[in-house]
Symmetry: C2
C-alpha cells in the first residue's frame, strides 16, 4: 500500500531554510512574503487495509519521520 507523509515546521517555529528560500526568491524579483519548507515522504508498505496502514505510518512519524516538538504531519493513505 502507498502512503504519503507531509511534515511541516509548526507555526511559530523558526524555519531558517524557508527564510533563505524567501530571501532568494525576493532577490530573483518574486513578490513572496513567506516561504516555509517541509518534507514529503512517499512510502510503500505492507498493510492489510488503509486503517492498518495509517496506524503504522502514525507510529513511523512518532518514531522517526517527524519531530513532534517542532513539526506537524499529515498522513495520506492511497487505498486504491
Amino acid at each position: 500500500m502507498k502512503a504519503t507523509v507531509v511534515v511541516r515546521p509548526k507555526q511559530g517555529i523558526l524555519d531558517p531554510q524557508g527564510d533563505a528560500v524567501q530571501r532568494s526568491l525576493a532577490k530573483l524579483g518574486f513578490d513572496v512574503s513567506t516561504a516555509r519548507v517541509g518534507r514529503v515522504i512517499d512510502l510503500d508498505l505492507a498493510a492489510d487495509d488503509a486503517d492498518d496502514a495509517r496506524s503504522a505510518v502514525e507510529k513511523m512519524c512518532a518514531n522517526l519521520l517527524a519531530n513532534p516538538l517542532i513539526e506537524s504531519f499529515e498522513i495520506h493513505v492511497d487505498d486504491s
Copy 2:
C-alpha cells in the same frame, strides 16, 4: 495568495535520503519496501489571480525551487 509546491525525486533517480529512511524504518520493525523523500514548500505570494500565481510559481520552480533534471514538481494554488 497561498501556494504549495511539492518537489520529488524523479522515478529512477537515486534517493539516498529515502534509502536511509527505508533502512531506518526496517530496523525499527516496519515493513516498508520503499521510501522516497522530497520537499514541500508553502508560499505566500502577491498575485492578481490563481492563474497569475501558478505562472509565477512555475517560474520559481524553474529558477530555484526544483532541479528539473532530477526532480519533478506539483503546484497547488489555494485561491480561496
